[in-house]
Symmetry: C2
Subunit: 230 residues, 2 copies
């Protein structure tokens, strides 16, 4: 049976830019599960199946509704144990949590670089919601929060060092083959790619080569999704 | 047969303070292997078995000499496959590399907080070597490099967030049980503990509780080693 996934979209229905949705989307592909996505906007909270926490991803698998990307990964792993594992081996789930917490910190740096690009890509009603909710969260205007991204870029690129050094020496974060740890980190890059032409990393950065490998997975699933750059 | 491990020592023979040696020491204990350590000082490069790169850890297992903590972990895993795995599962080795690269970056912040404490704990000949080699590496005096550690502390503690958030929700970096990923990170804390009374983390920081769990492992192997604090 096809799984339904509610997926954050821009004003264009096929521009999908949530890093958390990309984690789930790649996890579903890793498991080889059929999925039908439903474009969802920030302001459509009443359109989500229950239970939810007002955000996406939310999946519906038969009668089961699961929300939150981590819970979805855990659910898929438990529900489909005979399909390729998202957490291969006893230590992978624990170690992937470390990668997730590192990536969540990375998001804080990344959002300052792409914030106005997100704003540009959502519809008028979502723009209003986005401005209000983010300005309240950050305690300043979007424009102030996002200013001087060129100045912030060197520190952001330096913060990628643990990723860079890892995928310089092995093809994927998880080693020889991609698994959930890769999808967590990739979500951040796919988020940026979907809405921004700002070059997060230099073209000769090993991270670019890893990102290209990720874009190629599952018949180019992520590459086919509208975005900027490679 | 007992394995010999060359282990960095301070002026006191039992003060062992190399983060890389602690990675190896914990890995040997994880495998349940008998080990005899040989105290080694920075300036005793000619006392190491061959081959070596002038640093410790170096282990001698029968006729086999292995140097570098990563190579030692890989060697132990391959040589003793029937003992508890340092990398449980297909993705653990790759993900542990990510943790290692994150920790190596952490060391850069940590060394500024404990540099002068290292200097105080090594003998006169090693002090001379340490000052010369580190001042050359850092391009400034030890005292300049280490100044204002109280001022640097908040940023250092913030940089521990990925670790903190991970071990808040699970007992070990690797999940329910410790493995090499834990030993990598723990090496940094055991390095500091051996030579410094400076509080890297607040006593109510979840990292303290994880550190205590690590100190308890293998009959309190790390806790029994001379150091400051818990």
């Amino acid at each position: 049976m096809t799984i339904t996934m509610y997926d954050l979209a821009g004003v264009e229905v096929d521009r999908r830019f949530s890093p958390f949705c990309w984690r789930a989307r790649m996890a579903l592909a890793h498991k080889g599960l059929d999925v039908e996505t439903v474009a969802w906007r920030f302001t459509e909270k009443d359109k989500l199946p229950t239970p939810n926490d007002g955000r996406v991803p939310v999946i519906v698998d038969g009668g089961k509704v699961v929300h939150d990307s981590s819970a979805i990964a855990d659910y898929l792993e438990e529900r489909y144990p005979d399909r390729p594992s998202l957490f291969p081996g006893a230590a992978a789930r624990g170690l992937s949590k470390f990668v997730q917490n590192w990536t969540d910190a990375l998001h804080l740096g990344l959002i300052r670089l792409v914030l106005l690009d997100i704003y540009k890509h959502v519809g008028p009603k979502d723009q209003e919601y986005f401005r209000q909710s983010r300005e309240s969260r950050f305690g300043m205007t979007l424009e102030d929060f996002a200013q001087d991204r060129e100045g912030r870029l060197p520190a952001f690129r330096a913060s990628l060092d643990p990723l860079r050094r890892t995928i310089e020496r092995q093809p994927f974060v998880c080693g020889e083959a991609p698994a959930y740890g890769d999808y967590i980190v990739f979500g951040a890059f796919q988020w940026a790619r979907a809405i921004s032409d700002f070059a997060l990393v230099a073209s000769d950065d090993p991270i670019c080569a890893w990102r290209a490998r990720m874009l190629d997975l599952y018949d180019g699933l992520a590459r086919k999704s509208p975005g900027y750059g490679g």
